[in-house]
Amino acid sequence: MNDLKHIEELIEKFLGGRTTNVEEQQLYEWFASADVPEEWAELKEMFAWYAAGMPEGVVDMSSAPQKPARRRITLSRLFVATASVAAIVVAVVMLWPKSGESINIYEGSYIVENGVRYDNVEHIESDIKMVLCRADELEAKADELLAWADI
């Protein structure tokens, strides 16, 4: 009796589109094996159809209680949601400010030699590093002077 009550609850959940896969499997197995009450004869046929993978033209479902199309809608919604999230992730990755590794810390540097300007940072990087190195030495001396002057 308890078994029937439990099955009745599962049927209600199924028709409401709230059953889990395990619960649905439980229903299919129960309807396939148990002595089904006469009033559930149509349901037996319906669950057999679901259990068989919903083949076309095998059963007349017109009189059986209709299961809401929630599962299919859920799947399509899930697909749309996944695609949306993927699109957002791609957009964020593309638009996000470049991380430290992709920033050239010497960007904007240039050299003018005999009136010719060179601003390809990759080509002049070693020169720029030398300039900054000499500037660091001057800065260290300047710091000593500032300390001496108590500023």
Partner: protein, 129 residues
């Protein structure tokens, strides 16, 4: 009246600060703009690797066999003697150097003349590393 005097004093201080190094900067920009032989100008920028923000900007200017230019730079550096927070002059044999320093933001200007070569460094440190 007191407020007015304070405002005027602040304005004068602002003007003085903004005109500091102006003559040297003018010489630097003037001499790189033309097609001048014997002059090398390097403008180095160092950025924060995380944000891309400029931490330091350094100008290195060098020229050879240009006595007129040497004279102009020496005069420009001498003119900053009273404006700079620290100003140091050194003459050692044929090497003549002047260093002028300003704080907030930290600016270090250095002139070095030796033989027929003149080198000028002008660096601004926007943020300590």
């Amino acid at each position: 009246m007191k407020k007015l005097l304070i405002i005027v004093a602040l304005l004068v201080a602002g003007i003085t600060q903004s005109s500091a190094q102006q003559k040297i900067d003018e010489l630097l920009s003037r001499d790189i703009s033309g097609n001048r032989y014997g002059i090398t100008y390097r403008s180095a920028v160092k950025r924060d690797p995380q944000t891309g923000e400029i931490i330091k900007r350094v100008q290195e200017f060098s020229a050879i066999d240009n006595k007129a230019l040497v004279k102009e730079f020496i005069e420009a550096f001498k003119a900053e003697r009273d404006n700079a927070d620290v100003w140091e002059y050194d003459e050692n044999g044929s090497l003549y150097t002047v260093t002028a320093i300003w704080t907030k933001p930290k600016r270090i200007y250095n002139l070095s003349v030796g033989g027929s070569m003149i080198t000028v460094y002008a660096q601004t440190i926007y943020r300590e590393e």
